[in-house]
């Protein structure tokens, strides 16, 4: 395909403009975390030319070169929140992927009948959970969790996060399993494997990339979740978004600190996006195409 020059310029112009829109906030935050008070209020943009970068924001977080080996309370606090988020989101994603893959496999291979519910109804039952806004569950669960002593615990958070991502896993995995030819399992069954045996030995390795992309999508959603965490956690299981949000609302916080901490919250997922983009795209695209 050959294109004339003005059209090419237009296409690249729009793409570069949008890239700028997408990346500028990250650039701005990254530079702000190295600014001093004076350069923040002047709205300076380019380090080394407009202003001299300093480790200001990272120093207060205890992550700058000169403070990294010293005691630092903010760093302890930050790392505790970081690991809370990591534990909760990865366990919830893993649990959702396990439950969801089993359910999706069952739905794609067997005909079920639970009372009036048949396979399409059961599918709908699972997927309809996607529509449920978290606020509907939030208050009743808050009361229930209080009675069950699950408020502010990892287990409680993992359970509710699993629920929020389970329908997405089922949606993605159903397509994945439908794409696997049934003959493969039939061959395994003829060779004497059980239903579960053929699932683990034959089907599971084939759909592993699909499982990976479902897992990554879940991880992203759980990592960034704020609303439910803000209601349910307070100290022990507090996640990073809640910590960052509470810092935002406190007036005394300094810009460079805030910039450093917001960036630290996003950084793991930016890395994930750069290296695992293929899986993320695959997971989302599974929702759109193929039937």
């Amino acid at each position: 395909m050959k294109k004339d020059l003005p059209e090419k310029i237009l296409i690249y112009g729009i793409l570069i403009l949008w890239t700028f829109i997408c990346l500028f906030p990250i650039y701005w935050t990254a530079t702000t975390s190295f600014k001093t008070a004076a350069s923040v209020t002047q709205g300076l943009l380019i380090p080394w030319i407009d202003f001299e970068p300093a480790w200001k924001g990272w120093k207060n977080l205890g992550l700058s070169p000169d403070t990294i080996f010293t005691e630092s309370n903010p760093r302890e606090e930050f790392l505790a929140r970081f690991f809370n988020t990591a534990i909760i989101s990865s366990s919830a994603s893993a649990l959702a992927v396990i439950l969801g893959s089993f359910a999706a496999y069952g739905l794609s291979r067997f005909n079920y009948k639970f009372g009036f519910m048949r396979n399409p109804d059961i599918s709908f039952f699972f997927l309809s959970q996607l529509i449920l806004p978290p606020v509907v569950l939030a208050l009743p669960l808050l009361v229930l969790y209080r009675e069950l002593d699950l408020l502010d615990t990892h287990i409680g958070m993992i359970m509710i996060y699993t629920l929020t991502v389970l329908p997405i896993v089922i949606w993605i995995m159903r397509d994945q399993f439908n794409a696997v030819p049934i003959e493969l399992e039939e061959a395994a069954l003829v060779d004497g494997a059980s239903v579960w045996g053929s699932f683990f030995r034959v089907v599971f390795p084939i759909v592993l990339p699909g499982i990976a992309s479902a897992f990554i999508l879940c991880l992203i959603l759980c990592w960034n979740e704020y609303f439910l965490a803000a209601l349910i956690t307070s100290t022990d299981a507090k996640t990073m978004p809640v910590m960052v949000a509470s810092q935002i609302s406190s007036q005394s916080i300094k810009w460079w600190n805030m910039a450093a901490i917001s960036l630290a919250l996003c950084f793991p997922l930016i890395v994930v996006a750069i290296f695992l983009e293929r899986y993320i795209v695959k997971g989302m695209a599974a929702g759109a195409v193929k039937g």
């Binding site: 906030p25 002047q42 606020v135 359970m159 960034n224 949000a245 919250l265 989302m284």
Partner: protein, 372 residues
Amino acid sequence: MNEIKIIERDPLYVVSKSSVNPKTIRAGKLIVWSSFLLMVFIGLIQALYTFEKINFGFSNWRPLLYSYILWAIAIGYSRVLIYGERGKRNLFIFPAVMFIISIVIFPILFGLYISFSDWNLSSIDGRKFNGLDNFYQMIADPYYWNALKNMIYYILAVLVEFAIAFLLAILLNTQIRGRKFFRIAFLIPLMLSPVAVSWMVGKSMLEQRFGPVASFARWLGWETPTFFSNPEIARLTMMCMDAWTFIPLMIIMLLAGLQALPKEVLEAAKVDGANKWTMFKNIIFPIMLPVSLTTLVIRIIFKLKLADIIIIVTAGGPGGATDSVTSFIVREYRDRSNVGYGTLLSFVYLVIIIIFMTILIRFVSRWLQREA
């Protein structure tokens, strides 16, 4: 005459022994009922203890949870004991179904119970049944209706987002250099936590005095750029921030659809001399319709949950102009700490959503290529 019986055959047909030992059937029923009784027993003790009829019990309801989990496992295991091979198949979907029932259906029923009450969680009085008072209060609550009205604006904004995403997806699908770079760059806003976006964009870039966007607006000739004091502009700003995070999702879904377009049709149209616009209008858009509608429905589902950035950046202000239903309910709950009223509001919202989504899906399902 022999009646013809249609046997529904599983896609994956498993030949298995059909008879099950009656002993194992009895064992299966036994474990289900015994664990059920254990659960009832623990629940009863705890209920009596809570209402101070007896003076021994557990410090919280957690033992009931454990016995519930035990019961659930017993049901699962009994499927295998009672139904044999068929039961093993049920085990594939049983955990997920059980999980959702326990953590959705049960809280929803419980929510119905608390939505007709005045319940301040921090006061000692506990729950007070107040009938339909919450409902009347809701009818007379202008801010709730205002939040619902805002949701309509927010949802209409999806159409604009869709147009932008479609354009970018088409551009990404053309022959360009560095497509992988652009794809990653376009994906990144979706990776950012709404909380971080609230600060990075809402609080810092849109800062009135020295935020870069404000400086840019001044350079364009807007003398006093304020993004959150005028109701209309504040709502527009929130729409833009939300769009910024979610356009990547739409781009990816639409791009997947564009890449699956049948090449032959496009080639044939080109040979016939169709120009770009007619090709888009008559070929690409109609073939893309199912993907487009799926994308829109999914985006609307996410939009209905919109809350985080509003809670953090504007807290609904000015005067409720940016409130989404979720952010409003959270504020209600924090201000009055009445769980009952908040729950009722969220349930009314749920009913509205279900009606809206049912109509929407019914309306678009003609063009959708897949069910649900």
